[in-house]
């Protein structure tokens, strides 16, 4: 039994070696995304400061964990992972990089606490398509190219979470991107941001419903909804435009309506006070 255990330990120490040199030069601050954040979370978890998921996004939980670490190790408490903090962290903890990255890639549920064998910290995720164990699967298949439309090819593929604007979810973003793509895909970029801003202005306005879905699906409100163009797959540009609008940019100047003067059939819309014209759309109050 003991021999077996030693054997297992050996296997793990071979396959997952801890790395002494890590972290890039950057100062890591709240809101950051990427490999450095993964390492930061893993190392903080190793020491027991961080109890959340290792997902590669520097959120509030990571922030407090880092501050607690700083105060325990008598460093200036600023919530920034600067050179000194990183140095102390590397000295005090271990980081099994390949273990963490492999599990992130496979979408497993895992932790990275110190003093517990790594094999006991993984819960392999079952995929619906096959019953093969993930370990076998990983050996056989290369990680497939992700086809998730919400992801850009350029984004760091290893993080398990994303930042979203306050008060909205990825699905809200997607729904709005659909609407913007259906309504304004031929428009200049700024026109697409403006259409997204109109949706948000309507949510805030007392004269309209106050949810994303309520505004978009209000009968007759958007032609793209009425003729089904909203279900076209949105491109990256419309997603970017929606993100800008959600983050507070409003090129429409507070507009609640817009229309295309060449195709508008409703006479009433012409009576609205006009704010500006972007591309083929006139934006009005």
């Amino acid at each position: 039994m003991r021999k077996w255990f030693i054997c297992l330990f050996l296997i793990f120490s071979v396959s997952y070696t801890s790395q002494a040199h890590a972290f890039s030069q950057q100062v890591i601050q709240r809101g950051a995304v990427g490999d450095d954040v993964i390492e930061l979370q893993a190392r903080l978890q190793y020491l027991g400061f961080y109890r959340g998921k290792i997902d590669g996004v520097f959120g509030w939980q990571t922030y407090w964990a880092l501050r607690n670490f700083q105060s325990r190790f008598k460093l200036p408490v600023d919530g920034l992972a600067g050179p000194k903090t990183k140095q102390r962290l590397v000295r005090a903890s271990k980081y099994y990089k390949s273990f963490v990255h492999e599990n992130l890639r496979k979408g497993n549920t895992f932790t990275h606490y110190g003093g517990v064998p790594l094999s006991k910290q993984v819960k392999v995720r079952q995929t619906r398509t096959s019953n093969r164990t993930a370990t076998q699967k990983a050996a056989n298949t290369q990680p497939k190219k992700r086809t998730n439309p919400q992801q850009t090819a350029s984004r760091n593929a290893r993080t398990a979470a994303v930042n979203v604007p306050n008060g909205f979810s990825q699905n809200d973003l997607q729904l709005m991107a659909n609407a913007v793509h259906g309504e304004a895909r031929g428009e200049p970029y700024i026109g697409q941001v403006a259409v997204a801003a109109v949706i948000l202005n309507r949510i805030k306005s007392p004269s309209f419903p106050n949810t994303v879905a309520g505004v978009i699906f209000e009968p007759g409100a958007f032609t793209a909804v009425a003729d089904g163009q909203i279900w076209l797959t949105p491109n990256e540009t419309s997603r970017k435009a929606v993100l800008d609008a959600l983050n507070g940019w409003d090129p429409s100047g507070g507009a609640l309506y817009y229309f295309n003067p060449n195709t508008a059939t409703n006479g009433w819309i012409w009576s609205r006070p006009q704010i500006k014209r972007i591309g083929r759309h006139i934006f009005c109050k």
Binding site: Q150, G167, D244, N247, G248
Partner: protein
């Protein structure tokens, strides 16, 4: 023989097509009826809710004690918001029906504010009673009008799908009973005066922020161009277009489009006519890799603000999306954060250039303030917090509260379980002005 075969084949074809057509027709009808029923339900729900709303307002008028008045006002608020939501389901968005929706929303906020305040200490005053009576009368008008429409709809079997058709084609906008009925309702509400709600009530409409506090003389198109050049650090070979805003803009501005023939990037910018302040800037270009950190981007942002005479700013929020940093800065005066005065920036993490800037909030709330002395100490404020929350950070801040007033608060950041909360305690009277749960990163769903 061949002819018989051909005829047989053709007749089978025709019979098949006829059957297929019939099926299609039936399916279409089923869907039409389904959609029609949805509209009908929303419409009849609306009239019913207005009935209830009218009665409920009437009941509150007759009440005197706080114990019964508060729940009754809450009920008014609930009914008004329900009716408001129902209106949103009717295909009326192209019909001028905003006033009615605004009316419903105003009843909602009025009753909500009256309901949550301590009516023992601060009972409804004469003006507010008058406002309630006005609301009662107005809701009676709306009720009558809607019932009339409802009656006609039921008697003549009118269909909402026809309304939609009429609105879409704009063919005969004047002889549709439903449209006419709703237009009358709208006209009725329009005659209702906003100010009747009493002085303590700022209507939602007036909350819309303009740039009232900015000063300076009106600038010309050429000056706007010059401002864009210095603000964005342009070299001079770009193509710049300037357009003045339309008459619907609450504050006049110039829209500037800058095209760089070399890099093919496009930059858009709005500048106020009065004083020539940049409202927002967006540069549209792909950012495909990361060379600098979020922290460095923050430094560059702060430096940019300082360069352009935006003083006393500090970082409030930083977030990385792909390879772009989105930063929010707020001003700080004698150690007090002034949250309404915020500026947002987007910085590309490939070369550290600023690709977005928005000062709308800053321009609409910037003014000279004297910060009042707090009446309670931070220890007293701490005692007002829920004992379950572990306080991690604290400072003083000015925020806009629910009544849309600027108030001096103690701000606490605290944790409860895995979540982080931002809690504002009024520094004058110890009221918990705002409690927000701060957003955690959202997991990516459906991976692999």
């Amino acid at each position: 023989m061949l002819r018989i075969l051909l005829i047989a084949a053709l007749s089978v074809g025709i019979a098949g097509t006829a059957y297929w057509g019939y099926r299609e027709h039936q399916q279409k009808n089923a869907i039409l009826i389904h959609a029609e029923n949805n509209y009908q339900r929303a419409f009849h729900d609306l009239t019913y809710q207005i009935d209830l709303l009218h009665d409920q307002i009437g009941t509150t008028l007759a009440m005197n004690s706080r114990q019964s008045l508060s729940p009754a006002l809450v009920e008014v608020w609930r009914l008004a918001s329900e009716a408001h939501a129902t209106v949103g389901q009717l295909p009326l968005s192209l019909l001028p029906f905003n006033k009615t929706e605004e009316f419903l929303s105003n009843i909602g906020s009025f009753s909500y504010r009256a309901a949550i305040r301590d009516l023992d200490k601060q009972p409804l005053n004469a003006e507010e009673y008058k406002a309630l009576q006005q609301l009662y009368k107005k809701s009676a008008d709306i009720q009558q009008e809607l019932r009339n429409v409802q009656h006609l709809v039921l008697e003549n079997n009118l269909r909402w799908m026809d309304v939609e058709l009429a609105l879409a084609t704009n063919n005969r906008p004047n002889d549709n009973t439903i449209i006419d009925g709703f237009k009358t309702v709208e006209k009725n509400v329009q005659s209702y005066n906003e100010t009747d709600f009493g002085p303590s009530f700022t209507s939602v409409e007036k909350r819309e922020k303009g740039f009232e506090h900015i000063s300076g003389k009106k600038i010309t198109e050429a000056e706007a161009k010059q401002i864009a050049k210095t603000f964005l650090g342009l070299k001079g070979n770009e193509k710049i277009e300037v357009v003045h805003s339309g008459e619907g803009a609450s504050d006049a501005f110039y829209s500037i489009t800058i095209k760089n023939p070399k890099t093919k990037s496009e930059t858009y910018m709005d500048v106020t006519e009065k004083g020539g302040y940049p409202i927002w800037v967006i540069e549209n270009r792909p950012v495909n890799k990361q060379n600098i950190s979020l922290n460095e981007a923050t430094m560059r942002g702060l430096q940019f603000l300082k360069q352009h005479k935006f003083n006393n700013f500090e970082l409030y929020e930083s977030t990385q999306y792909d390879h772009v940093a989105v930063l929010t800065f707020v001003t700080s005066q004698n150690g007090v954060r002034i949250y309404p005065e915020s500026i947002k920036m987007k910085i590309a993490l490939d070369d550290g250039n600023i690709i977005g800037f928005s000062a709308r909030d800053y321009l609409s709330s910037k003014r000279d303030r004297t910060i009042p002395k707090p009446a309670i100490s931070i220890e007293q404020a701490r005692k007002k917090m829920s004992p379950n929350v572990t306080i991690m950070e604290e400072r003083k801040a000015i925020i806009m509260n629910n009544m849309n007033e600027e108030v001096l608060c103690y701000e606490f950041l605290g944790t409860l379980g895995d979540d982080t909360y931002r809690i504002f305690i009024n520094a004058q009277n110890g009221i918990e002005e705002k409690v927000e749960k701060l957003q955690n990163p959202e997991p990516i769903y459906g991976e692999i």
